[in-house]
């Protein structure tokens, strides 16, 4: 009966997808929450950096760390090597700090929480019980959970508004909190690891983030602990003309395990909004981290107006032997995506995996991929990338696999598939491969295909309409990656795949 149950569950997932697609508009998250905001003045300079630091009640060392990054940033220039076309960004025309006024004082009961903020959680699909916990309602933790437990940290514009299941996690020794709280409460961990994977000087966008990040999530899993639940962060940009610069730091100590989910949404805007996040993951001996992202920032409208500019630096450092990391990403949103979640395979026998679905429709442009940097002996990496282009979109896979001289007997396998819908879009594959020893092996396979008319006709002759047929065929194309996602995310991701392709046929 086990196999049957599994089948039933998968069935349910697929069914839900089709239903969701049928019931949804083209961008489900396109509402905007009118909450009174507190802004810092537009633009970025040393005073703004100090102000952000001060608003977060940061210690002096943190302020200095930010200022050092800022001073570095002003000497840098924006990278232009990606296959992306967008107008010059005026970095002084952005707000670098915004937060809901009601967050000035942390709410103590549901009555004190801005009801509009609660409505926001509701629209984000955060379960009611977790909403209560986020809002700090007493006794909420004791209420029975619906389904599997997921601890949530919600970041609304620049500020982390609350984290659920804190006490339960604390019992296991897990620290899951906003990074601003971690800076105050766990300075020894932050000092030791912040910037150790993505240095302040790493790249233009990461350096800007180092100077102005306002919040984000912090995770520490102690030695030998298997995190008792999935951890999740919801990011939402709400205020207009506001850049969101969140910073995530995850540390998996020896022999520990954690699965981390990240979801992103933003309202529809005519103007472009800037998003430059940094995620650093440190993985020590025998530890394992799974990091899954469903990126659904507003992609711009059918004419290419508006949408998020998403410049993200994500990197995992497998510092210890046999450390393991798995990145899974479903990139459906953003007008511009510039993102290469990477694995530094430093420890011997460490492993890195990267599973990606990148969908670009209308005028979206995506330049995304990964870097597998093999430094240790007997290291393994696997890349499975599925790129889907529709409308007039351009989709580029850019990946680097490098085998250093010391990384003997290491292996990489890369599979890169592109699917084209229509005749005005583009798919590009740019693999960089460097092998500096003689005992390692690198394999690269790539395919490019068009959505097959015979497949669509077959589906339609069985009663599915054209959009349903495309959604089904494309979900099949992505199956390998969708299966790498935790179940909760797999459902959302499948619906997103379908929604992102609406209007791409016919």
């Amino acid at each position: 009966m086990t196999a049957t149950t599994d089948l039933d569950v998968r069935e349910g997932v697929d069914r839900e997808t089709v239903e969701t697609v049928q019931n949804m508009g083209s961008y489900k998250y396109g509402w905007d929450t009118e909450i009174e905001m507190e802004y810092a003045p537009k633009g970025v300079n040393e005073d703004i950096v100090r102000l952000i630091s001060e608003k977060n009640n940061e210690p002096e060392w943190m302020t200095e760390w930010r200022l050092a990054a800022y001073r570095r940033w002003v000497t840098m220039t924006e990278p232009k090597w990606a296959m992306l076309n967008y107008p010059e960004i005026d970095y002084q025309d952005q707000y670098y700090y915004a937060r809901p006024k009601s967050m000035e004082v942390k709410p103590k009961s549901l009555d004190e929480v801005d009801p509009k903020l609660l409505a926001t959680y509701d629209k984000l699909g955060i379960p009611l019980r977790e909403q209560m916990i986020l809002a700090g309602v007493e006794g909420a933790e004791a209420a029975p959970a619906e389904g599997r437990k997921v601890a949530v940290d919600a970041v609304f514009d620049s500020v982390s508004v609350g984290t659920t299941f804190k006490d339960e996690l604390a019992k296991a020794g897990v620290i899951f909190c906003s990074i601003s709280e971690a800076i105050r409460e766990h300075p020894e961990l932050v000092k030791k690891y912040l910037g150790s994977v993505v240095p302040q000087s790493d790249n233009y966008f990461a350096t800007l983030n180092s100077a102005v990040f306002s919040d984000g999530s912090f995770v520490y899993i102690p030695e030998g602990v298997r995190c008792p639940m999935e951890l999740s962060t919801y990011f939402r940009i709400n205020a207009e003309n506001t850049g969101q610069f969140e910073r995530t730091l995850i540390i998996a100590d020896k022999g520990s395990y954690v699965s981390y989910l990240e979801g992103c949404t933003a309202p529809k805007r005519d103007t472009n909004q800037l998003h430059a996040a940094v995620v650093e993951i440190v993985i020590l001996e025998d530890a394992e981290v799974k990091y899954s992202t469903v990126q659904n920032w507003f992609p711009g409208d059918e004419d290419g107006k508006g949408g998020i500019y998403n410049f993200v630096t994500k990197r995992a450092d497998c510092r210890g032997d046999r450390a393991k990391v798995m990145w899974t990403q479903v990139e459906t949103g953003s007008a511009i995506t510039w993102k290469y979640p990477s694995c530094i395979l430093r420890g011997n026998e460490s492993q890195g995996e990267f599973y990606s679905i990148a969908i670009a429709n209308n005028f979206q442009q995506a330049d995304t991929g990964t870097k597998m940097i093999h430094l240790g002996k007997n290291t393994r990496s696997r890349i499975v990338s599925k790129g889907i282009s529709a409308g007039q979109a351009q989709n580029t896979y850019r990946g680097l696999v490098t085998m250093h001289p010391r990384a003997t007997n290491s292996r990489n396998y890369t599979q890169c598939d592109s699917l084209l819908i229509g005749d005005k879009c583009g798919a590009h594959t740019v693999p960089y491969i460097e092998v500096k020893n003689t005992s390692s092996r690198v394999e690269h396979e790539a395919t490019t295909s068009k959505v097959d008319d015979d497949q669509l006709f077959y589906c339609r002759s069985r009663g599915m309409d054209e959009e349903e047929a495309v959604a089904l065929v494309v979900n099949g194309f992505c199956r390998e990656v969708l299966q790498a996602l935790p179940m909760e995310f797999a459902m959302e991701a499948q619906s997103l795949v379908a929604i992102s392709l609406e209007g791409s046929v016919g």
Binding site: A3, T4, L7, D8, R10, E11, G12, D14, R15, V18, D452, D453, D454, Q455, F457, Y458, C459, R460, S461, R462, G463, M464, D465, E466, E468, L472, V473, N475, G476, F477, C478, R479, E480
Partner: protein, 251 residues
């Protein structure tokens, strides 16, 4: 049930006429067979009726219970009760057979304003029907037609037919590539579906299939038209003597 009147069809891309005034009527509850030499337009007829792109109807009409089929999208024809069992069933990698079936069943039910089947109802129905056709649970889980043998693909088409419960079933050379046992399974599946409200149009090269699925009427098709119609004995005549005499007779 199905009425085809003076149907003329050419290829969209080139100036090639394939159907040249084909007329045919299949009343409710009957099984009609179409036989004919290669290139006579049999598969084109099945594709045009089910709405595949690439063909242009220049004259004539086709109706299902009085409703004009040719104006409908393929999915609308399906919801109206038309089903085509493909000669070459299409592979859809990554899409589970069960998912495909269920999406199709519910899409049709929805189009007809009926309630969708619940997970339990669907599984119960599909398992029972799969068992009759000796389709293993593993085959239900595997991606649609991917890695299926010829016989498995054809049985899978009949499973879809059984689940979708169409009123007008067109079978395009369903017997091609089947061994004796598989042909019996497929035929039993089809015979189980025969009833007063359901009609079949069976396109085949060989009389053998018609021993298993007894037709009411046999049509001989050549050069884009029906040249002769008769009872089951017509199929035996073809088997015996080939198409030569019949075609000469029709001019």
């Amino acid at each position: 049930m199905l009425k085809i009147n003076n149907l003329h069809v050419k290829l969209e891309e080139e100036d090639k006429q394939i159907l040249k005034g084909l007329s045919l009527e299949v009343p409710a509850g009957q099984v009609h067979a179409i036989m004919g030499p290669n290139g006579s337009g049999k598969s084109t007829l099945s594709y045009v009726l089910s709405g595949r792109d690439g063909y242009e109807v220049t004259e004539g009409e086709a109706t299902l219970d009085g409703a004009s089929l040719l104006d409908m999208e393929p999915e609308e024809r399906a919801a109206a009760g038309l089903f085509l069992a493909f000669q070459y069933p299409v592979e859809i990698p990554g899409v589970g057979n069960m998912t495909f079936l269920r999406t199709a069943v519910n899409a049709q039910r929805k189009a007809r304003g009926e309630a969708e089947l619940s997970s339990g109802e669907f599984l119960k129905a599909v398992r029972a029907k799969a068992a009759e056709l000796q389709i293993s649970p593993d085959m239900l889980k595997r991606p649609v037609n991917v890695g299926f043998s010829g016989g498995e693909k054809k049985r899978n088409e009949i499973l879809q037919m059984a689940m979708l419960e169409p009123r007008m079933c067109i079978m395009d050379e369903t017997d091609s590539g089947l061994d004796v046992d598989a042909m019996r399974l497929v035929s039993d599946g089809v015979n189980a579906l025969r009833d007063a409200g359901r009609s079949f149009l069976v396109i085949t090269h060989y009389q053998r299939l018609l021993n298993h699925i007894q037709p009411d009427v046999v049509h001989i098709m050549a050069n884009g038209r029906i040249v002769k119609s008769g009872g089951p004995e017509l199929a035996l005549e073809v088997e015996e003597n080939g198409y030569g005499d019949l075609l000469a007779e029709a001019g």
